[in-house]
Amino acid sequence: MIRLLLRRLALGLGTVALVSAMIFAAVEALPGDACTAILQRDASGQRLENCRRELGLDRPAVARYVDWAAGALRGDLGTSAHNGKRIASLVGDRLANTLLLAGCTLAVGVPLALLLGVLTGLRRDGAADIALSTGTILAMTIPEFVSATMLIFVFSIWLDLVPGIVTVSASAPATAFFPGIVLPVIVLTMVMTAHILRTVRSSVIETLDSDYVQMARLKGVPYWRMVFRHVLPNALLPAINVVALTIAWLLGGVVVVEKVFNYPGLGHYMIDAISDRDLPVVQAIALILAAVYVGVNLAADMLTMVLNPRLRTLRARNG
């Protein structure tokens, strides 16, 4: 099994490498570069050439890619075209803030989703199930910016319970973000929980209909023991992948939510950087987000491999 895990790890690393190449190529393909962004209207003729030589932009693309990639591995993400500072430090705080937001969302959303998904799967077609099913459809389909706007309206303007906009700066300590983080977390949790809940529910229903659960019932296994020993370990296995996929979605949804709430995170910074044509920053952020996405999927796959007896012992039989 170690070999399987290592293979999967290698695949993940390969994907990140591939993504980095894609990002670099995409940014290259766009008209303009860091120099046109810095010089703006003065970007022409000799000044442009000098700038490019200075920043090393006249070298072949592959060489520049290798430099950039090597730097990224070392932790050096280059310098911002907008303000010349080191990207790594600019991004550091914001990454931490986004992780705080994502982390709170996961901490609240995942257990909630698992619990509700299992309960509605067990008590299928009950009143709670129908109510939650309707709720999840609404939660899943309403765009984040819409629910964000509505929540701001209700809870911060109307009821004045929590602040609607985050006014803290990017480098503030984590505690400064509460209670401003409450509404963003609620918005993100709504969508995330809905997705996970639906998958867990249908997985539980499918497992309940399986032959081996029927057999357990006919062996005289009491209900709750059956649920915990026979149903859940099998029903929750696919949930790992869904949680991973949802985390991946979270990275995209976080961007919009951060913008709406003015939260100083990585996503918000990315939008600003794109507007400012600060391409090195855009590249760096894209790489980070992609790496997180791949990393999460990797962890999910490896966890599944470890937990699923069928995958664990496949090698033993064939080997």
Binding site: L218, P222, A316
Partner: protein
Amino acid sequence: MADAPLIEVSGLRVGFASRSGRVVDVLRGVDLEVRRGETVGIVGESGSGKSTLLLAAMGYLKRGLRVIEGSARFAGTDLLSLPRRDLERIRGRRLALIPQNSGQSLTPNLRIEAQVAEVLRLHGTRPAGEHRARVRELLAQVRLPDPDAIARRYPHELSGGQQQRVAIAMALAGEPEALLLDEPTTGLDVTTQAHVLDLLSDLAARLGTTMVYVSHDLGAIARVCARVAVMYGGEIVLDGDARRVLVDPAHPYARGLLASIPRLSGGALPASLEGRPPEPGGAGPGCAFADRCAIAVDACRATRPALATLPDGTRARCMRPDAVAGIPLRGGTATTHLVDAGARAPALSLRGLAVSYARQGVVDQLLGRPPAGPRTVDAIDLALREGEAVALVGESGSGKSTILKAIAGLVPRADGSIALGDGVELEPDVSRRGPGELRAVQLVFQNPDESLNPRHDVATILAQPLGLYFGLSGEALRRRSVELLDQVRLGAHYLDRLPAQLSGGEKQRVAIARAFAAAPRIVLCDEVTSALDVSVQAAVLALLDGLRRDGGTTFVFVSHDLAVVRAIADRVAVLYQGRICEVGPVASVYAAPSHPYTEALMAAVLDPEPGARPRLLADDVQEGAPPARGCPFQRRCHRRLGDVCATDAPPAREAGDGHVIRCHIPVGELRALQVAGAPGHGRR
């Protein structure tokens, strides 16, 4: 009261609500009593309700089903109205189930030990300290080799036969008073089946456990049960002593069923029962069997007959018990097996055919070497004459389907050649074959649900070969399609139907019509009757036989069912691990002298005579791949000579009349050994 029945089902009606709100009956008022120590078999085809009855006897109904009236009592208590807690105490402890598909019925995330011990822990039959030892004891009791290793494994690591035994061990763990068995040997290899059935009948005899055994296989029931009940259309139609029910049953359906089972001993094509079993809720006001019955009168169609007790104690649901005896039990057309085969033109010849699924590694590709892995099929030499039906027989892993696919050009060929009668070589890859070759060889698959595109209606299905090979369209196409349907005894109105609207037998006929649309010279049949009910199977076999006679088509017929092969084939080749062990005319191969593997197969399979016991010759071992050298059967052979079997490939020995046996033991010696040591074996 010692006399009270242990299991008592009274007037049980179970059904579900259809979309339109109408109640559809799955069980229509079943009365059944089982006393302590009895072994009762329940026989029925699909739709008879037998599985539902068995589960109801445990107080369990599948989702959507509910009790309309009646009860299912165990030791006096109605399980269907018992609260869950009390049910949990009875199930597994006093009443245990051995399920149909053990592979699916064992929880995948728990080790075997945990699952079997769970029964011990729940029902407290042994103190906690003894559980480990008791689990291994139980696994040994069901004849699992190396119980310790098995206990530590997960279900998916075991073979089908091993999984089934674990299920039996799990059922025995609670030391139940009664065992309910739901088709426990379906899907297992013939030799494995024999072993499991032997174990079950042995257990019944030793432990005196009451047993209710549900199956569609009369042979299996004959081996284990003293009493047999026959179900049809959701009710019991016959219930009595096994010796009566299996030999001279007192109900038209049972007689028809017996007549439609192919027999190992007889060479005749079994008589077919026209029509098909009713869908749940499809039976009319009268007798469910009336529209298929040979002696039905108007009264039968008007009122539902009651289950009446006959003088000998048998219960039969028929209004005309006296007329029943007149229905023939055997019969059907005696097949005139080809005798002048040698004089006919050759139709297909396989020379040294070998197939390997191993992929060529890069190194092999560069050096132009064949792939290194074991060959799934090897050294196949077979010559078929026009109009012959040659069967390939073997268990799972024998490579019989692979050979068919190789003839059809669907799998890569590692070696050898396949040629049609006129010397035309068939390309290994079907996409490289010319239209003439494509037409000449047609394939019919096992599972009719899978081999017809669910989105195509019958007209489209037939139009494909007709359009492709003959360029037919429009009116000419329609006319020819109707002709083809007529040949398979389906009316023209079937053209508009979709597969979902057809029964299993009808779908298979369409598949056969599709194959014959090409006017082929060779028809390859891959287990074409295995997925069908017994009574339907006979009709399809008769159809195939008729088509062969009329058209002079050559058949290659693959099956694991020796009796079916006996009925339809002229010659048979017995395969083990992808190599031919024995080939020759069917009657000769099935009688002594035979290859030891054939002998083991024959001993494991018997006609449904009550009290017949199979003889277990070969071990119940699943082999993954053939041995690198020597005889393929060396590891399981009960007549193994010695080292020569492991080192040298066995020579082909003639036993007269085109009968060839590949064994190191000379033919004369084989004959002597087998005739002397196997009393029931030499049946003709």
